[in-house]
Structures are given as structure tokens and as C-alpha cells.
Symmetry: C2
Subunit: 345 residues, 2 copies
Amino acid sequence: MCGARTPLRLWAAMSGDNPDAGDEFDLIARLFAPLARDPAARGLKDDAALWTVSGPTVMTCDAIVEGVHFFADDPIETIAQKALRVNLSDLAAKAARPDGALLSLIWPKGRPSDEIVRFAAGLQADLEAFGFGLIGGDMTATPGPLTISVMAFGGLAGARCPARADAAVGQDVWVSGTIGDAALGLRVRLGQGAGFSAEDRAFLILRYQVPIPRLPLALLLSRVAGGSMDVSDGLIADARKMAAAADVRIVIDPAAVPLSGAAHRAMAAGMASVDALLTGGDDYEILFTADPGHRPAIAEESLRLGLPLTRIGHVEAGQGIGALMPDGRDLGLEPGGFVHRMGGA
Amino acid sequence: MCGARTPLRLWAAMSGDNPDAGDEFDLIARLFAPLARDPAARGLKDDAALWTVSGPTVMTCDAIVEGVHFFADDPIETIAQKALRVNLSDLAAKAARPDGALLSLIWPKGRPSDEIVRFAAGLQADLEAFGFGLIGGDMTATPGPLTISVMAFGGLAGARCPARADAAVGQDVWVSGTIGDAALGLRVRLGQGAGFSAEDRAFLILRYQVPIPRLPLALLLSRVAGGSMDVSDGLIADARKMAAAADVRIVIDPAAVPLSGAAHRAMAAGMASVDALLTGGDDYEILFTADPGHRPAIAEESLRLGLPLTRIGHVEAGQGIGALMPDGRDLGLEPGGFVHRMGGA
């Protein structure tokens, strides 16, 4: 029997599909095998990974596509990292820690193969930073855009795995970090950032290109969260999904939603609206609910982690979203939330 | 804590990325939620799946791309099935049974959304046939070709999980089913099938479009296999990978390689060569090695399953592949094996 936690591996579909990519085995050995950190790794030389898991395991997969979720000329290292991190963000929201990942790398025929080296380097940096390894995957060529699908899995940080449906009437609504930066970063990337300072432009682009998975929150979420999910499609749209899953009404105070300095400056200069920030996407922050009795514990953990955790609303009986603006409009009544992809995707 | 074996789910990236696709939640509820068979399923409404696994779990992922692994006008049901089955083939080769799968469905913006209904139907038919469920996935739009990445996982059928590297000197080399049909099917699909009968054309196309994962072999493989892998890139190329992983030499008798009636007829009519059949791809048969003492057990299981298992060579000390043709050429010395993708992919 293969040993416990033995990552084996097939990169079968690589198979010379991409003539530029050089010899399959060389490429795997040189680039991806070191990403399988497990000492029992057999060098990614098999058809599949054999992983010995025990207990509840959270599994998620998300794909990102050139021209939809990132730009063709984004640094290839950050593309690799975004592909991984959007999945880690899901694990964090479910109060899990990453144990392993599988990668489907679908590489455009015309894209220089030396970028694969940089792709692997970007991935490796993240795997080291987040403390786990690649256990498998496959690589194939495509006549279309660069497409990366990652499946990440891991055990629970604590005893609970909060579902979206666990949001309950009477709970507070919280969000981590700041909201809207990535939507502004996308705008800057689209050439609409002339009014921003160079520093703000760099910050916002980074927030768009390299989301920060809130893995340090996993333990807190397992202890205090009612409902929990990550915010990827815009705060309002995602809160609406949680409300639907839990069959409750979520009321958000737009003025309470935490914004970065760059976002505040954009608002002050008339370059951004609250609407755009709350309905833009790619935040990859955690939206969760918790009983009011947990406020001290949440404040304490926020301080300990150096990560803002902000109370932005509450859960009540009913359905849908309320988000009343000072001008009387209710953002919760507007469709919104799907406006963040580039190019009408 | 979420219950054991509770498939939760996020189809977050669906998120209205595809305006034709209708409302995300409707689509999920209508099409994909029934594919999560587990009674504890919460309706695919969460960010991730929570699966309670115990013991060794085989995990694999493989992507297929329109214009590379299938034709844009292949029946969409068979595209769904091929995406799933190429992964099940990996599980079979590792002596595992499928327990669950995650799906990344990357849908072209221009492709009619009613085909998603048929895609889901094709997938559902297979999930029912193979006795497991979808536990999660995501859907996103692409400006490029239809691309499907599947991650499948499952426990072992027996006590062992045969690696490629387990091939050992002195063992026989076996292959399941027949070899080369899919390569001929691809040729027929490319319009080079004028010489075939209608029946042979239909058979060969089916072998190309809908591979048969050899899951019934899992228990036998766990008992008798030395090295084991599935044949996806051509028999010669894949045997070469096994030889490299195990640091042995694999000698194949081309005349012993099992061919279908259609392939025999193609050879007799001068429409196919042994070379093409042994180096073509997409067979999704199992290549394995076993001690000679297991010959009776293998013959018996072949009979019981109604599935040809054919001894085609042996493992010896050395490196690489030997496959001596009657004309004195050694197929093992030729590069080959990467000729099966369409359109120079």
C-alpha cells in the first residue's frame, strides 16, 4: 500500500500537447515536483495523488480565466497566486486550513513557455507562505485564454464548519479587511486611474491581483461564526446569497462598511461611489455573522491578528438584503453585484 | 459541526458571468443540485464541500479542452461524460472507486445556454451509472473554448494502491480492452473514415468520445498489479512513462496488443498501421504489470468481467521501451506517442 500522505502524480495531459513546453518529465521534475513538499512524495510521477485524510475535509474548486478574472499581461506570478488564493479564501470562510491542492493548468499555445517557470515560482512562494503542497494536477494546451482551475482541500481549524445557511436572526454581520479595493484596482488596470496617486494605484492593483486569503480567521470563525462565506462577487450580492441560504434578511449599514485609505480618497475626490465599492467584486474578504455576545472575542482577535473586523449590520427575520443609503436608495433592492468582471464577461 | 459526508457547495464564479446562463441560483437548483446525491446535501448552496473521509483517498484532476480533446460539435452529453471518465480512468488505474467529484465548468460566452441542461443530463447519467455524486464545483464564462476540469476522488478498492513505479523486473505486462480504437475514431471525426463501414465508424467514434473507465478492474489491480496506469497518451508513450518511473525496461510484443474487429479491418484494408494504433491516444485502457504467478487469477477475472485482459510483454532490467516490429523497426526507439491530439495541439 502506498504510504500515508504520499503525493503521487500524473501530469498526463501535458503530454507534449504544447510543443514549446519542452519535455514533459523535465518540466515536471524541474518546476512542479519541488512544489510537492511532502517528504513521502514520489516526485509527482503517478496518475493520481494518494492522500490519507481523517475526519471532515473541506474541498473547493474555482477556476480563473484570462480576460475574465485577470488580464493577459498581469504578472504571471500573481496569476498563479490568485488562482490558488481564491480557493484558500473559500477554505478560510469554512474555517478550514489548507492541506493540499491540485492544479489544472491550461496553457495557451502561443504563450512563452518560460512563463511556466515563473508561474511555478509564484505558486511555490505561496505554497511555502501558506504551509502546504501541491499534490497533483495536469497541464494541457489550449487554443484559447490561459485558464487555471485549482482544487484545494483541508481539515477544519476547530470543531465547526460554518455554512452560509447558519446565519441566524439576531446575529451581528461582520466583514474582514476593507471592501471595494479590488473593484477600484480593476478600474485602475482598465486605465481609469488617472486621478489616483501612484501609491494608491499600486495598492489597489495589488488588492485586485493578489487577494489575501483570511486563513488566520479560521479558528475564530469555527468558534463564533453563524453564517460565513467569502466575498468574491461583491458584498451586496454575496450577502444576498447568504440571506437566501439561511432564509433570513440581512441589513447592512453602508456607512459602516470598512474602506481603505485609498478608497476613502477616491470617494472624497468623486472618483468612486459607495455603490461601486459595495457591489464590486474580487474582495476575498470574509462575511460572517455572530451572536452579539461574541463582540468582545471578535474585537480581541481582530487586535491580535492586526486585521480589521468590522460590524456592518445585523440579521433579522425576512428575506433579501437591506442597505439603506443616505439618499434614501436601498442598494439591497438593486440588482448589482455582477458588474466587476472586465470586458462584459 | 457540519454533518459527515455533507456536500455543501459554491458555484460562486457562475455569478452571472454568463448573461445567457440565466439566474445563477435557478440554474444550480435546476441542473446541478440533483447531481449531489448525498441525502445530507444542503443543495449545493455553500462555498465548499465538506466531506468526511477516512483512510487513503486517491485524488486526481484532468481537464479537457474543446479543439484539443474533443470537437466543438461533439454531442455535449458525451463531452460531459468524457470529462468525468478520463478522471475515473485514473482512479481505476490506482485501484480506487469513485466517491465524489468537483467540476469546473468553463463555458464559452457564445455557446447556447440550453446546452448546459444537456451537459448536466449527460453528467447525471454517468454519476448514476458509476454510483457517486458531484459534491461541488464552479462555473464561469470564457471568451475561449469550452474547457472542463474535473477533480475526482475515492477510496481504495482493496489494500493496495499500485503506482507506476511498482513495475518490477520479471513481471508480465498486461493491457485491458483494445488499443487504438480512439485514435481511429479521431481520424473518422476528422473526415478520414471513408473506407470504414457505418458500423465501424460509429463504434470508433464512440470509443473516442466516450471512453470506458475500467473501474471493475480496481479490485483485481489492488491484488495483483505491480505497476499500473491508464493509457491516455498512447500505449508506447505511457509504457515509457511507467518504465521511467520504475527504472526498468518494458518490452512489448506489438503483435500481441489486442485490437478490436474494427481496427483489424482497418489494418487489413491498409487504412491503419500498427504504429498508429500503438502510439495513438485516448484509449483509457489500463496498463499494468503482474508476477507470472497471477496469470490464472487475471484470466479468471477477465472471464468474470467479460473484459479482455491481454498479456502483451514483460518487464526486464534496463531502461525505456522495446517494441520490435516484424520489419525490424523498434517502436520503442521512436519518439511517437504525442500524435493523437487534433489540429496540432
